[in-house]
Subunit: 331 residues, 2 copies
DNA sequence: ATGAAAGCGCTAACAC
DNA sequence: GTGTTAGCGCTTTCAT
């Protein structure tokens, strides 16, 4: 081995052609005859040549990579670890990227240094970026630096986004509970800063008002522990509640445990309805009746959108949030 | 705006220095005087200059990125979506990468096209790759093409790896059950191809033999549904079992549901012990007693190892698998 | 300390 | 159809 890595130059020499022809053959580009193509491919095989993607990207000016950005609040490691959401967006993206032979670059940026991190990422995007979890302000900043962007969460109106009906889903959840005869419906909400959580809270509030129920709310943090404590507080302060709307499945899992710990049964004494239909929904006992957020579908659509070109400003793609009936709500 | 993106050339011109000096200033490299550095930084700020990472990588020959590879069997989307394992390795890696300002490239390669995908990734690695889930054969192939590799799962002996004590953990789990008085201890195993699953099976078998118990096994697939069905079969065919060792928490969640569905209670009638201590372990009812696989720690260590340089062939870093007591085992 | 100039490995005009 | 050549934006000798 004279060199560690053969370059296209080596391939060209071995094949007895010019670098340009070698390039054309390797990229299946037009403008090369069959015989030469064959010689080039033989040389490639012989040398075990693999194109240098970096050089390719620099020369062609295009690179096939999509960046996914999640800004974490507090210890990101804990958040990322616990929450099924992120694997769901990755799971949705990977297959379509694989099919388009594009790369996926994952960025978890801490809230503190978010601004400069955002700027650097924006400057180096190629196919574009999926904003998996971000505040409207940061989304806007990113979008002002890079138009090939799509957000997975509600943001400023100009930023292209996948839009799940969080408000309608929460409304439907409460309505479902009401139709089944529940009248004291409490809620465990998500973080006040999280746009999805805000929408779900809105949906709950609207339903409660529409149905003439009294609002009973506690705040959670989208994590199981938060759901547990919020539910515990709720039960202690309002022993008469007969149902809970919990703004995500992870918190709902905690809520179910809190209900059980209080000596009550789910769903016989207290019904619990979750949100997301994540893996957590089917791990609980009983499995959760929940509102399905089609995260994978949204991720697929977001990725396709980026692959197609630059999304129009304000572009929206709507996704329904449907009821999934399991066993945590008394029929 | 005359240009879309300012280059270092623009910075140099605005600062009234050469490109070389601009580069030195931007990279905090030695060989530039304070006054010039200041002028360069001012120009950077004025133009909003952001270095082009691709060009930087090509010119310097080094790039700061680590690739994480997971080869998926069957519909990768389902697997990635459901299994908490992957987010745990990502959660472990991200913060250390962030601190080292390196990128994370995620590759989910289908089993079918794995070989060529592996080759291409290997040819373009920079800091190195962590093999999150892979067969020994593919790990070996990858390692033969790229030495900056570390596997998160058991593999061929030459490939550097993080080594969790799966055998010992499984053994300890069965032993724990035995000490608490259980004598009919069944097992739900993982996929026969998965090296971790193989080790856990081995640990169960050894313990069963050592303790003079009779082996009762069923095969699962590391997914909840598989755990449910395996446990259901086990209960039907061996109604007298009083405990189950389940090779991962996701399957254990299913097993708990199957036990409940059969009219038995966990842990009063049947104890269930899981493996992983993933998010699923705390979502179940009751929360799972389980064996903690320190995935995040392993991912952190793997990433640090790559950041430090090329791991020695056969390098091993061992991690204990400890008991986490919750409520799914009768005391 | 500073600048001129030579590439990094590849693609894409542009000639032939 | 094929080869020659000029860059992509940056880092890094090597003169000065």
């Amino acid at each position: 081995m004279s060199r560690l890595k053969p370059t296209i130059e080596d391939v060209a020499r071995v094949a007895g052609v010019s670098r340009a022809t070698a390039s054309r053959a390797i990229n299946n580009a037009p403008g090369a005859s069959e015989p030469l193509r064959a010689r080039v491919h033989a040389a490639v095989a012989k040398l075990g040549y693999q194109p240098n993607e970096t050089a390719r990207a620099l020369a062609s000016g295009r690179q096939r990579a999509v960046d996914v950005i999640v800004v974490t609040y507090g210890p990101g490691i804990r958040w990322l670890r616990a929450h099924p959401y992120f694997s769901r967006v990755l799971a949705g993206m990977m297959p379509v990227l694989e099919g388009a032979n594009a790369q996926l670059r994952l960025h978890a940026v801490g809230h503190a240094a978010a601004t400069e991190a955002i700027d650097e990422i924006a400057a180096n995007t190629t196919l574009g970026a999926v904003l998996a979890d971000i505040t409207p302000a940061l989304a806007n900043r990113f979008y002002s630096r890079c138009r090939r962007t799509v957000s997975m969460v509600p943001t400023a109106s100009s930023v292209p986004a996948m839009q799940a009906d969080n408000i309608g889903g929460a409304y439907a959840a409460v309505n479902h509970l009401h139709q089944l005869g529940h009248r004291r419906i409490a809620a465990v909400h998500g973080p006040a800063l999280n746009p999805c959580a805000v929408d779900r809270r809105t949906g709950y509030l609207r339903a409660v008002r529409k149905l003439g129920l009294t609002e009973v709310s506690a705040d959670g943090d989208f994590r199981r522990e938060g759901g547990y404590h919020a539910a515990k507080t709720l039960i202690e302060q309002h022993p008469d509640i007969d149902a809970m709307f919990v703004a995500c499945d992870l918190m709902a899992a905690g809520a179910v445990q809190a209900v059980t710990a209080s000596g009550r049964r789910v769903p016989d004494d207290v019904s619990v309805i979750g949100f997301d239909d994540s893996i957590a929904a089917v791990c609980t006992n009983p499995p959760l009746t929940t509102m399905r957020l089609p995260v994978e579908d949204m991720a697929v659509a977001a990725t396709r959108l980026l692959l197609e070109g630059t999304p129009a400003p304000g572009h929206r793609q709507r996704f329904p949030v449907d009821l999934v009936v399991r066993d945590s709500v008394r029929p």
